[in-house]
Every structure is written in structure tokens, then in C-alpha cells.
Amino acid sequence: MGADRKPIGFYISSAWIGLCVFLTAFGDSLPITDYRANDFDAMGVGPFSPNHILGTDFDGVDLLAAIAHGARWSILISFISVFVASVIGGALGIVAAYWRGWVDAVITMYFNVTLSIPTLILTVAMVAVFASPDMSNPEAGMPRILVLIISLTFVIIPVLGRIARSSALSWTGREFVMVAESIGMKRRQIIWSHIVPNVVPSMMSVAFLAAGVVIVVEGGLAILGVGTDPGQSWGSMLAKNRGDISIAPHTTLIPAVAIALTVMALNYYGDYFRNRIDSRESRI
């Protein structure tokens, strides 16, 4: 049916996400300017200057190189934390939906409690918990990227878990699950062969949206001064150059556009997968 011809937005989104993933994987071995090099003859020049297509910031850092490097941090942080959160949240949600009773009550309560603190505030608090104990020496302790991934994972688990639970609930009542139970299949087998394959697609669409949310939250953390080191992720690029917005707006707006394009592509994927699931459901 409609699965053959994909809308143009799908190709654009795929191209952008593909580019970001490519940069994440091979960014360091590309023949572009070093993102750490300072071009002292061209500091704060605008886009389309010679040698610097996107211009430079006031440290003379080439913005194209910085964006390419920033993709690694933003994409890595977002994808890893959403993946881990999907696995943990998915497991919790399915267990809650299938076992019901007090297990469900405890897990649902955990989701509700976590969700009643705004995402960004909870993330800031988690980052503070996991970060270096010595405020004057932030290098000690866990690497910053790990702190961010752990904190963001923790915060995003209930979002994905709640979707997994409600999706799993709608499948456990279906006839084929009852049949499987009546012929004496083990719970674990039923979960693996009947529940998981049906819950995963609906989690996928939410996972894409969540990946977008994580990129934005990471940008917010950077603006609040608790993100990655200055100039690493897109968010911290933006935070670093924010003071120069009145004289060189491109230094701030370019990373903002990179974040917006990525979130747009991820949202598009999320919508696309949800529509596909909906049409599949309506055909059943």
C-alpha cells in the first residue's frame, strides 16, 4: 500500500540524519579544517568568506568544522541515552503491563513520580549528583559526557516506559495472547514472541521524538552552564558564542539551525513511524 512511495520529507530527513550519523562515525578522519585550529587572520568572519564557508567565531574556529565535530557529541549523547532508556523503560513497561498487580503499581508510581519533576530541572539535578564532587576541579571524577548520558537516560526512562506499558497493555488483551496462554506457553515466551515485537514499533516513534527532546535538553544544559565543555556539542557552541550575538549573529544561529534541523528530522521520523503503525493497526 502506501509503504512504497515515501514522501519527500522522509528522504530529506533521512539525508540529514544520515549525514549526522556519518559525521559521528567518521568525523575525525575527514579532510576538513581542524575544529581546534584558530585562524587568527579571520576571527569572527561571516559565512561565505574565503576558506570558511560558514565563517568563524571570535576564536577563529571554523564553524563548519565545529558543527561537524559538534554532531558527534550531540548525536552520541542523544542516541546512546535514548537507546539505553528504551531498553530499560521498555522492559519496565512490559513487565508492569504483563504482571499487573503490585509490580505494576510500583513501576507506574516510579514513572509518575519522576514525570512530575520538569525534565530539564531533574536533569540539572542528576548532573549535579553525578558530576565531580569538587566544584573547583571539574576534571576529576567521571568524564562529562558519561555524566550527561547517565543523567539524560535516567530522565527519559519513564517517558519511554509509560508508552511501552500502555502499548503492552493493549496487546496483552488480544486473542492471540490469550490463545498462547491457554495452550500453556510460558510467560517469558509470550513476552518475547508476542508482546515485544508489537511494542517495539510504537516505542520507535516515541524514541525518535525523545532523541529530539534529549538534543534540546542538552542544549539547555549548555546554556545553563552544566553541559559539555565549551564548543563541544552544538548546544555548548551556542552557549559559548551567545555573547557575540549582536556583532556576529551567525556564530550563535548556525549551531541553533543545526539543532533545529536535527530535531525536525527526528520529529518527522517519529510522525512517519506513528502514521505507519496507525495504518497497520487499522488494517488488522
Binding site: 530539564l120 540539572v124 549528583v129 539547555g220 552552564g225 549582536s246 541553533a256
Partner: protein, 322 residues
């Protein structure tokens, strides 16, 4: 009986969530690395350290600490901040009194503005569903919803604040000082927070309105010869606004989080900035009271929405009753 019993059960659940959230925050605050006493008073004498430890309630176990904090919190005593300078610190309650109105204004204007724009827009898009107008506007809204609020904020600060020099990009003006300036200082932060919400709200209302338009009572109304406008506003909007209402209330909580960043972009000392500051500077009692306050507000919003549901949609009311 059934209705009252259901309400009591819901209330009990809310109270349980509240207790767990506040206790959870206590655990987080206790887990913050470093010894708060040496962080706050790096050059204090052992006697001063012992005194502060007692003041912060760190000489007792976590349960005792939690209950004494809860007792103070319920009575409106939110503790005080501790500074390394010997000014004795500030009452958290005073800080809240200063920052909360700003954040409430910001959130209130944002929700009102978003609803004012998205209700007519959502109805229009549903009425024109699948025409070129609908497709174009829907795509534009989708694009806008993907720009993070700080991105919009910085873009606006550059365009309106620097390039065209129309508005002052930083700071907050209280209403008591100058009403016109107060609204002017709110324009950019409210726009930065609203654009994402408008897109979400419009899309929700559009979907629900399209579903309502297919119902029999709409066909009935139009066969009676009622005008399209009358049908849309008087018959269709109310049953279609349930999801919108829920989303608006749920977003009130999320807005506090979004406000943190936007407040920071526009140097607008609100509640969000205060929370971020407290966490960064290890103001233990302040963190605990502030996050608890936000969570309480969020949970109460959800409760209110549940009650509103019954008022807006009589079908829910009868279900609850039966």
C-alpha cells in the same frame, strides 16, 4: 458513593505521589557529592561546621531529616540559603516571593497567547482539512515546533533586539513599575516559549476537530441550516477541546523547565533561574523546597484537569458517576 469513593482514591494517590516526590528529592539532595558543610563554609572552624551541620539537619538520619523538612515546608517555612559570606543567608521564601510572580506571568501569558492563536488556527485547519492552506500551514507549524525555545529566543533577541532595535533583549520590568514596559519586556520570552506550544496545540485541536466533524450531530446541525461558523464554535469546539485542555495543563509543568532556559537567555531572574542557581551552588534546602514546590504545582494541575474533564465533557461525568 461511587463518585466520592473514586475522588477519595484519586486524592490518596496524589498524596502518595507528593510524598514520594518530596522524599525522592531529599534522596537526590543527600546524594549530591561533596560535604555540604565544607562546601558552604570552607574556612569555618570545627565549631561553626558543627553548628551548620545541625542547622542543615545533617546530624540526623534521612527519615528524621525528611519529616522535619516536611513539617517546615507544609507550614510555609522553606528554609534559607547559605552563603560563604557572613551575611547569614536569605530566606528561600523571600527569594520565591521575588521570582515566582515573574515566572507565573511568563507562564500565564504564554498559555493564554498560545491558546488564543491555536484555537482559531486549529479550527480553521480542520475546516480546511487537506486543502493547500491546511497543508502549508501544518508544515510551517511542524517546522516551528522543531526549533528549540532557546533557538527562537536567541533569533528573536537578534532580530528584534539588535537588528531592528525594537525591544530591550534583557531584563524584566515589574508591572507596578511601568505597565507598557512590563508587557514589552515579556514579548520575546513569551514568543520564544509559545511557538512550540502553538504548534502542538493546533495539531491536537485539528485532529480532534476533524474527528468531531464526522459525527452525526454535526450533519444534523448543518442539515438544520445552521451556519458553518455557528456549528464550529458552538457545537464542535467544546467536544474537540479535551485533548487540548489536557495538553495545556500538562505543559504548564513542562513550561517551568522550558522557562529555565528562556529566562537565562533573556537574563530574567525567575523561578527557573533560581532553581538552576540553587543546584549549581549547592543550596541544599533551597533545592529541596523549590523542586518540591514545582512538583506540587504540577501534580495539582493534573488533578484540576481531571476535574475539568468532567465539566467539559458530560460523558466523562456520567462514567465517573456510574
Amino acid at each position: 458513593m461511587g463518585k466520592l469513593g473514586g475522588f477519595a482514591k484519586q486524592l490518596a494517590r496524589v498524596v502518595l505521589v507528593l510524598i514520594l516526590v518530596t522524599f525522592g528529592v531529599t534522596v537526590i539532595v543527600r546524594l549530591l557529592p561533596g560535604d555540604p558543610v565544607t562546601t558552604l563554609l570552607p574556612f569555618g572552624t570545627p565549631e561553626q561546621h558543627a553548628l551548620l551541620r545541625k542547622d542543615l539537619g545533617l546530624d540526623v538520619n534521612i527519615f528524621q531529616y525528611y519529616f522535619s523538612w516536611l513539617k517546615d515546608f507544609v507550614r510555609g517555612d522553606f528554609g534559607q540559603t547559605y552563603t560563604t559570606v557572613a551575611d547569614g543567608g536569605v530566606q528561600v521564601r523571600d527569594q520565591i516571593a521575588l521570582t515566582l510572580p515573574r515566572t507565573l506571568f511568563l507562564m500565564g501569558y504564554t498559555i493564554i497567547f498560545s491558546l488564543l492563536v491555536s484555537i482559531p488556527l486549529g479550527i480553521l485547519l480542520a475546516y480546511k482539512a487537506d486543502t493547500r492552506v491546511d497543508k502549508t500551514l501544518s508544515n510551517v507549524l511542524f517546522g516551528f515546533s522543531s526549533i528549540p525555545n532557546f533557538g527562537i529566543g536567541l533569533g528573536l533577541a537578534y532580530l528584534l533586539g539588535v537588528k531592528f532595535d525594537l525591544l530591550n533583549p534583557v531584563g524584566y520590568v515589574p508591572m507596578t513599575e511601568n505597565v507598557a514596559e512590563h508587557f514589552k519586556s515579556m514579548i520575546m520570552p513569551v514568543l520564544a516559549l509559545s511557538i512550540g506550544l502553538i504548534s502542538t496545540f493546533t495539531r491536537l485541536l485539528r485532529t480532534d476537530t476533524i474527528a468531531t466533524l464526522k459525527e452525526d450531530f454535526v450533519t444534523m446541525a448543518s442539515s438544520k441550516g445552521l451556519s458553518n461558523q455557528w456549528i464550529l464554535w458552538r457545537h464542535v469546539l467544546r467536544p474537540s477541546s479535551l485533548t487540548l485542555l489536557t495538553s495545556a495543563a500538562l505543559n504548564m509543568g513542562a513550561l517551568i523547565g522550558g522557562a529555565v532556559v528562556v529566562e537565562s537567555v533573556f537574563a530574567f531572574d525567575g523561578l527557573g533561574t533560581l532553581i538552576a542557581y540553587s543546584i549549581n551552588f549547592r543550596q541544599y534546602l533551597a533545592i529541596q523546597s523549590l523542586i518540591a514546590l514545582v512538583a506540587v504545582a504540577y501534580i495539582l494541575f493534573n488533578l484540576i484537569v481531571d476535574v475539568l474533564y468532567g465539566i467539559v465533557d458530560p460523558r466523562v461525568r456520567s462514567h465517573r458517576g456510574g
